[in-house]
Each structure stands twice: as C-alpha cells, then as structure tokens.
C-alpha cells in the first residue's frame, strides 16, 4: 500500500482532535496547554504533507515556512502561558480552570 497525502492528513486530523478533546475536557491549565501544542503539531503535519504531495517529485517550500512561523507562535504562546500559570498559582493557589471563574457573568 503506497503512503499518500490522505494518510498524513488523517493522522493530522487524529492528532488535532485528540488535542481538541484534551483542551476542552481537562481542568488542569498545564494539560490544556500541552493539548494546544498537540493541536498545533497536527496542523503542522498537514502543512508539511501538503507541501510534499501537492505535486509529484517536488517539495513546495511555502508549507515549510508556514510551519516555521507556527513554531514561533507556539514558542511565544508557551512562554506567555507559563507566565499566566505562575501568576494564577501565586494569586489563587490553584491552576484549575473551573475555579478560575471571576469574570463569569
């Protein structure tokens, strides 16, 4: 069985949906941050698969450059996320998203 773009796309959809499930259904902020990273990795895998399989025998580099920018944004997001988690832990003594509901209407 020849591996084609569909295999990589289905794998990326699986990773994205596993990450989405974790981000929606978990209470610990650190685990939610990890699941967002999983979602970003699934999207990256789809971009790289497209740039490899869009045309036969060539690699289109635009997808690779998009992945580099996604990695930059992910690094920035984790740095700010870590700062927010530490601030939340300092002021509230917990990191539970269900208890952090001060702004709930």
């Amino acid at each position: 069985m020849v591996i084609g773009v569909e295999h990589y796309l289905v794998l990326s959809a699986l990773l994205f949906c596993i990450g989405l499930y974790g981000a929606l259904a978990k209470r610990n902020v650190v685990v939610i941050l990890m699941c967002i990273e999983l979602m970003l990795n699934g999207a990256n895998l789809a971009l790289v698969a497209f740039s490899r399989y869009l045309a036969p025998e060539v690699v289109l580099l635009s997808g690779h450059i998009f992945v580099i920018f996604v990695m930059v944004v992910a690094a920035a997001e984790v740095a700010v996320g870590l700062a927010i988690i530490i601030t939340l832990y300092r002021s509230r003594e917990h990191i539970d998203v269900e208890k952090a509901d001060t702004m709930k209407g």
């Binding site: 929606l24 259904a25 060539v58 690094a75 984790v78 996320g81 003594e93």
Partner: protein, 167 residues
C-alpha cells in the same frame, strides 16, 4: 520512496502517545509522552523530506517547549492532584468525534492535486538552503511575516517577564 512500515510505526506511536497525554492522570508522565509524540512527529517530517523542519522540531518542541511545560508543572507542584476531567468530558467527546468525522471525510474524498505556486526543490534534496533563500525571495518571499515574528517573540518575552515579576 518512504517505506510504508516506517509511516505506520511512527503514526501508531504518535497517536498512542497523544492519547496517553490526554488520558494519563499524572501530569508529569503526560508531559513525557508529549515529548515522545513530538519526537515521532519529527520522524514523520523526515519521511516527508522536511529535514530542516525535523531538526527545528527537535530543537524547539522537544528541547524548549517541553522544558517550559515541565517548568510549569514543577512550579505548580503544590496543587498537582493529577489532571481530572471537567464537566465537559462527554459533550467534548461528541464534539471531537464529529469534528474528526468531518475532517476525515473531507480529507479522503477531495482530490488534492494542484499546480504548485512558489519555490520548489526536488524530492531528496536538502531543504534548508532553499528555505533560507525563499524567506527573502523577491516574488514569493515572507519578509514582512519574518519581521513580525521577531517583534512577536520580543513582545512575548517582555510580557512574560512583566507578568511574573514580583510586585
């Protein structure tokens, strides 16, 4: 051509590690399985002829982002009582199942062939030099996003420092 068994091994390990991240109750073990998932995705990049991205994946995700996540776990050690599910456990499962079904049906039924628009390299060649020249390409370049990425990183560093500074 990439051997099929290599893809299947990497894919099964990646999905298994991702599922373990979500289902594992111990946060530290979940972080270690996340590192395993990042490493298998770097392997998948190698099978897709993306050598530079595989190296960047290992350096940035495995080397930096997972270390930051483990820092976050260690600094909040006092409240770690596993990672329980919220009230949304079953509604989220339904939503994610529907999203997965929609994505897979679109991915499988669409014809993805198209004429590539942009800089290409032949399969098997190294991509790093071509990526470097493509970012600053006159016609297909990414110069403004490149500058914005630098400003974004600076803003993120300053924001993180301001947030965690002792008052």
């Amino acid at each position: 051509m990439v051997p099929a068994w290599l893809f299947w091994i990497l894919a099964v390990v990646a999905v298994g590690a991702a599922l373990t991240v979500v289902l594992q109750r111990d946060v530290f073990r979940a972080a270690l399985f996340l590192v395993l998932c990042f490493l298998t995705i770097a392997g998948l990049y190698v099978t897709l002829n993306a050598d530079f991205l595989a190296a960047a994946q290992v350096l940035i995700y495995v080397g930096a982002i997972s270390v930051l996540l483990i820092f976050a776990i260690m600094l909040t050690r006092g409240v770690q009582r596993g990672s329980p599910f919220s009230r949304l456990k079953f509604p989220a499962l339904i939503i994610c199942g529907l999203a997965l079904a929609a994505l897979v049906s679109v991915f499988v039924t669409t014809n993805w062939g198209a004429a590539p628009l942009g800089v290409t390299v032949p399969v098997g060649d190294p991509t790093a030099p071509a990526i470097g020249s493509t970012i600053f390409h006159r016609e297909y370049g990414f110069i403004l996003p490149f500058e914005i990425a630098g400003i974004l990183l600076l803003a993120a560093i300053i924001g993180a420092i301001v947030l965690v500074r002792e008052k």
